[in-house]
């Protein structure tokens, strides 16, 4: 079995995110990291390999993004991927979710994976959706927010929470599965793995290499067009108490609740 894991570079959680007023797009400068949700997808791939129910020949990390996205691939490799593929091309910059999914599907298509895994969401942008876009372009079945996955050579048995409770779905391979963060507890990379990550094969491709139609990608060709950004209606900031003396803190909470007749 060959598993591809889609990963993404996102602004570090500690960086304050903002809109660049000159472009109306997200300002993606500042400290970056591997999307934390993606580490669950890599861990899921590793557990399939280590579980031994099916032999896993290769785990490949795949990303699309600027040059700096290499760091996310290094992190993915340090967590267990054997090699990585980086779609890096100015032509894809500013793509919306539909165009990004198309470009990733083309990049994945060349790898011919049996299973594509990704995290349930990115820390910074689109929610839940990229897996379904990729699956449609690849003509594969898909499921998102999977929290338990049993694998054999031809099929998956997946569990997830949906609108009315927990669903169990049987899916034939090849398939695209986005995993929820409850599926596992990602391991920490060893120092040796971190040091060795840069030596693992990294294939950098442009849109021509994976036969991406340039007229379908990039900000100008994206069908969902971000016209402007505005501030939300102002909301009075809540009161904040830093707990130093807990007896005092509790006294304040009780007074606050009492004032509002909540006790």
């Amino acid at each position: 079995m060959k598993i591809c894991v889609l990963v993404k570079e996102v602004p570090d959680a500690a960086v304050e995110k903002r809109i660049d007023p000159s472009t109306g797009r997200m300002d993606r400068s500042g400290e970056k990291n591997l999307n934390p949700y993606d580490t669950h997808a890599i861990e899921a791939a590793m557990q399939i390999r280590e579980g031994g129910a099916v032999p896993v020949e290769e785990i490949v990390a795949v990303t699309m993004g600027p040059e700096s996205a290499v760091r996310a691939l290094h992190k993915a490799v340090s967590l267990g991927a054997d090699r990585s593929v980086h779609l890096s091309d100015g032509a894809v910059a500013g793509s919306d979710v539909a165009a990004t999914g198309y470009a990733l599907a083309k990049t994945l298509g060349r790898e011919n994976p049996d299973l594509v895994l990704l995290g349930q969401q990115s820390d910074d942008g689109e929610c839940y959706t990229i897996g379904a876009v990729v699956a449609e372009h690849l003509g594969m079945p898909s499921l998102t927010q999977v929290i338990k996955m049993d694998v054999d050579a031809e099929a998956l048995r997946c569990e997830r929470q949906a609108e009315y409770g927990y669903d169990t779905v049987a899916i034939k391979l090849p398939a695209v599965i986005s995993v929820g963060d409850a599926i596992n507890e990602p391991r920490y990379p060893s120092l040796k793995a971190i040091m060795g990550a840069k030596k693992k094969p990294l294939d950098t491709v442009g849109i021509g290499d994976v036969e991406i139609d340039a007229s379908k990608v990039g900000g100008e060709n994206s069908a969902a067009h971000w016209v402007s950004a505005k501030a939300p209606p102002p909301k009075g900031a809540g009161e904040i108490i830093e707990d130093e003396d807990t007896n005092e803190t509790v006294e304040k909470i009780v007074a606050w609740l009492d004032e509002r007749k909540l006790i």
Partner: protein, 326 residues
């Protein structure tokens, strides 16, 4: 002709509330665009009267397609066929997991633009503009569509359900082919309830616990505090801890759980992800206890306490008991 096609999710003979909101919103927007809102139901022997009842919320016509329930890709096939037959400029989905999957798949199928987590839509100059909060709701982006069909996926509870009228919708059968990949997934069991059946929707006070409780046993702190408030209080939980098996699914707030609006919502060890926020932001008073001063929940709480819940909750429980007794 700017007609709008609205996906309606149904389960065990009832239409999902978010879908009723989406039909209501679609009908309002279609009227502004000079077109009609139609709804589509996909399922196994969908009752005719259930389909017709969407007329109460403004759907002029309801397409009923025979197909497997609870999976996204068969609905992409059905909606793709309905849209290919012509006449639709927009497709709208209420908040919910399936809506995200179907909307995204449909966008790929049609080469259409898609906006998700949408909180408001308006008609302007004969087209729709979708508003989507971004960056932890600190800004709102406005999205227009360049494609012949635009796809709007609402945030949970974003679209208000209209006052139902007595109108009935015309019901039409839609025949469509399942695509090869839609045949690769089959539902084994659906809607399994895990854990005890608890009632949180009737509570005036909810003490909700998240991953910050550290372990399943941490919920004892929440239960003791709820107990101190008395019998109008109950304990709720986030998706993360329900998925982890710490607390019953019936107590879950948010995207794939319950939506609540109690008098007091006390969140312990909850970071406040959007998927949780959408299920509780209408609460009258929100109090949050979290050790991370950067937790998003402090952005929308009325009273935030930065500190260790293991120290604060037991003392708060004692203090509430003492106050009640006085």
């Amino acid at each position: 002709m700017a007609n709008i096609l609205v996906y309606a999710l149904h389960y065990e003979g009832a239409i999902n509330k978010n879908s009723l909101g989406a039909v209501s919103e679609g009908a309002k927007l279609a009227a502004q665009l000079g077109g009609e809102a139609h709804a589509i139901l996909v399922g196994e022997s969908v009752p005719q009267d259930l389909a017709a009842s969407l007329g109460n919320y403004g759907a002029k016509k309801v397409l009923v397609a025979e197909g497997p329930e609870g999976l996204a890709q068969p609905v992409v096939d059905a909606m793709g066929k309905a849209i290919a037959d012509g006449g639709y400029s927009y497709a709208i989905f209420g908040g919910g997991l399936l809506g995200f999957e179907i909307g995204a798949g449909l966008a790929a199928r049609l080469g259409a633009g898609v906006a998700m987590e949408v909180t408001a839509v308006r008609a302007e100059g004969g087209e729709l503009i979708a508003e989507r909060p971004i960056l932890g709701d600190s800004a709102i982006s406005e999205i227009k569509y360049r494609s012949p069909v635009g796809i709007v996926i609402g945030r949970l509870n974003a679209f208000e359900i209209a006052q139902p009228s007595a109108e009935q919708a015309a019901v039409e059968q839609l025949s469509f082919e399942l695509s090869p990949h839609a045949r690769q997934a089959t539902m084994v069991t659906r809607g399994e309830q895990r854990g005890a059946d608890v009632d949180i929707e009737g509570a005036d006070i909810l003490v909700a616990g998240g991953r910050g409780l550290g372990k399943a046993e941490g919920f004892a702190l929440c239960e003791e505090l709820a107990g101190a408030f008395g019998n109008t209080a109950a304990v709720a939980a986030t998706r993360a801890v329900v998925d982890a098996g710490w607390y019953p699914y019936a107590a879950q707030i948010g995207q794939t759980g319950k939506t609540v609006a109690p008098k007091l919502y006390l969140a312990a060890g909850i970071s406040g992800a959007i998927q949780h926020k959408v299920g509780m932001q209408a609460s009258e008073n929100i109090v949050a206890i979290n050790k991370d001063s950067n937790a998003p929940i402090f952005e929308f709480s009325d009273l935030g306490i930065v500190g260790d819940l293991n120290k604060i909750l037991p003392k708060l429980t004692e203090a509430v008991k003492a106050k009640k007794a006085s």
